[in-house]
């Protein structure tokens, strides 16, 4: 079935939303074939977002690791500070084309919420962002940004008060308002056609990276690495390389306090197949099929499910999925900041941590690309709070030794 990825994906939603999803799919199919739509999207990505984003050779990090040449795909340099805007611009254009006047979104770290509020302002649309009450607290600067941009931020107290609960609330809102509202989903999860739409809009990351890597190094990367919560930045990166069998694709899930503790957000590594938010995927759930609360120092990875295409890539072993726990991610955050003068988002820090593990196992002619999906300004409080409760010196010592 075209709405599925192997056994994954699908449209597990209430009947009321089925005609709505079909309307979105029809509109998307027509939009992506319309040269005017494609042109407007490309122009906005260039002039408004600031694409293309650089593929930066991280010399200091490469020297530190002593192995493969490490390149960073600088999605953190996009307008609004993350890859999320690639997708929200596309979906907002689609919404406008469908005659919708209101955008809603769920958000975890707040980056997707900010990116949605941004395009709503640009297109003069009403905007409401649902955000778990816990995330509202730990990502306060992003809440203020959304409000400055004119969006209404609704804190969701239900359940674990994080991303999944925000998504429940957005779906509830949409069920009642779809006649005038477009739901801008921020990741490659959710019911079809969203996994496809989001992947397509994010595939600009992988397509640019492939070309830039050939230009800069004369070869394809040996490995690309991206963090995976719902999986949109990873899917966008992987999309550029799926047909290049020589390129290893590595997704990094949030190991939280460690897989063995059960306090993590690693759906592929620690979950079972189930259905949530309209899609069948690897899911963190208890024996009875109740969804578990997830744990990660990074709000953007704090989601119990994962995009269906990632599930299929994991099963077919085209991509492999590892985990990085909170401590390792924080150390990578600190290390990249010191070594390269680039403060990565905590989400992206998981991907950085993975390259720290593996770069040394490659020879110096190898190339690894890390998708630096977002910048870390939003995470100052989270990192400070983490360090207050988990004093650690490892990263500082290591970097000082190196210098």
């Amino acid at each position: 079935m075209k709405t599925h990825y192997g056994i994954y994906g699908g449209q597990y939603v209430a009947e009321t939303l089925m005609p709505v999803l079909q309307e979105v799919e029809t509109a998307y199919e027509s939009a992506r074939r319309d040269p005017a739509f494609v042109r407007e999207l490309a122009e906005l990505l260039t002039d408004y977002v600031g694409r293309e984003s650089p593929l930066y050779f991280a010399r200091n990090l490469t020297r530190y690791c002593g192995g493969a040449r490490i390149f960073l795909k600088r999605e953190d340099l996009n307008h609004t500070g993350a890859h999320k805007v690639n997708n929200t611009i596309g979906q907002a254009l689609l919404a406008r084309r469908m005659g919708k006047r209101r955008l809603i979104a769920e958000t975890g770290a707040g980056m997707h919420g900010v990116a949605t509020a941004t395009v709503a302002a640009l297109f003069g649309m009403e905007c409401e962002v649902f955000m778990g009450a816990l995330d509202v607290k730990r990502q306060a600067p992003n809440v203020e940004r959304m409000q400055v941009l004119g969006a209404k931020v609704t804190a969701v107290d239900a359940g674990s008060a994080t991303l999944k609960d925000a998504m429940n609330e957005a779906i509830r809102d949409w069920t009642a308002t779809a006649d005038h509202t477009f739901y801008v989903i921020g990741t490659v999860a959710g019911p079809y056609p969203y996994p496809r739409i989001v992947r397509d809009f994010q595939s600009v990351i992988g397509c640019e990276t492939r070309r830039q890597c050939l230009e800069k190094t004369g070869k394809l990367p040996d490995e690309v690495i991206a963090c995976v919560g719902g999986g949109s930045n990873a899917m966008g990166m992987f999309a550029g390389f799926l047909d290049d069998a020589s390129v290893k694709l590595t997704g990094v899930e949030a190991g939280g306090e460690g897989l063995e503790t059960g306090r993590h957000a690693a759906s592929i590594n620690g979950g079972r197949v189930g259905v949530l938010h309209g899609s069948k995927c690897y899911l963190l759930q208890d024996r009875d099929g109740q969804i578990l609360e997830t744990h990660s120092v990074s709000a953007g990875l704090d989601y119990p499910g994962v995009g269906p295409e990632h599930c299929l890539l994991a099963d077919t072993k085209r991509a492999r999925y590892t985990t990085v726990n909170d401590e390792e991610a924080i150390r990578a955050f600190e290390l990249l900041s010191r070594l390269e003068g680039i403060i990565p988002a905590l989400e992206s820090s998981h991907a950085v941590a993975q390259v720290l593990r593996t770069a040394g196992t490659y020879s110096p002619d190898a190339v690894i690309v890390v998708n630096l999906s977002g910048r870390g300004d939003k995470d100052m409080d989270s990192v400070r709070r983490y360090r207050e409760t988990h004093p650690g010196e490892a990263a500082t010592n290591q970097s000082e030794t190196q210098e």
Binding site: T16, Q285, I291
Partner: protein, 261 residues
């Protein structure tokens, strides 16, 4: 004649809509919930929808979310819901019993295991709120094999052609969701209700019951003019999450159900 068809036939002769009442199993507590469902049946429900609590009920409003939470916090599981259904069936051979759930809980239990168990317990059917027509082939063969109804839903957003496809091979009854939105009580009935129900009843091979938003006997009678049955959920569960004493809850729910007849 199967039990559900018999119920609608009897109600038609009595010139009243069949009354279906939803209750979240395990709310306000696992034991009291059985008593509450007994009361709902005693006060006149023809069909009971036994709600399986789920952690993420994305098609439900605040009342049923809270009822679900309350049940889960007290250790409610699908296995215990099935035991409850068995107890109710033993006491009420004539009442229609429909299991009402989100798909993931059923999927984890095992669809073949579930449907064979439901048949054994003499439950009449299953309604899965997030399993639309496009995905139902995952469950439908199991239901058919065990003689269970898989209750289909139609909403005001459902286009006519889609409506025809959904109800073409419907058994039991068709659930008409009266408003686009989540469950919850509403003050007014939608203006297009009569037209939509008439259209649906013309094409449906089985009776049509309407729900979402019905909170009073008056509303139930209005809807009953156009539908073969009425379904009440949130209004019946609101007292159960109020935190009041159980005798008060039972009295209030009982009175509501009686007023709906």
């Amino acid at each position: 004649m199967d039990r559900i068809a018999g119920i609608f036939e009897r109600c038609r002769k009595e010139e009243r809509p069949a009354l279906t009442v939803f209750a979240t199993c395990g709310c306000p507590s696992p034991e009291e919930s059985v008593e509450l469902m007994e009361e709902i049946i005693a006060r006149g429900a023809d069909i009971l929808e036994i709600g399986v609590p789920f952690s993420d009920p994305m098609a439900d409003g605040a009342v049923i979310q809270q009822a679900s939470d309350l049940a889960l916090r007290q250790g409610m599981t699908l296995e215990k819901v099935l035991e409850t259904a068995g107890r109710l069936r033993a006491h009420h051979p004539e009442t229609g019993l429909i299991l009402f759930s989100y798909f993931n809980v059923l999927l984890q239990y095992g669809l073949e295991r579930l449907t064979s168990r439901l048949a054994e317990l003499d439950v009449d059917g299953v309604l899965v709120v997030d399993l639309p027509f496009e995905e139902r082939d995952e469950l439908l063969p199991h239901c058919r094999a065990h003689g269970l109804h898989l209750i289909n839903l139609v909403s005001p957003a459902t286009p006519p052609e889609r409506m025809r496809r959904i109800v073409a091979d419907a058994t039991g009854f068709v659930y008409y969701v009266m408003v686009c939105g989540v469950t919850g009580t509403r003050d007014e009935l939608p203006p297009e209700l009569a037209d939509n129900l008439n259209r649906l009843r013309t094409v449906s091979p089985v009776p049509v019951a309407a729900g979402f938003g019905i909170a009073s006997g008056e509303a139930a009678r209005m809807v009953g003019r156009y539908a073969d049955g009425v379904i009440v959920g949130s209004a019946a569960m609101r007292p159960a999450i109020s935190g009041r004493s159980f005798p008060e809850i039972r009295k209030e729910v009982g009175a509501l159900v009686a007023s709906l007849r």
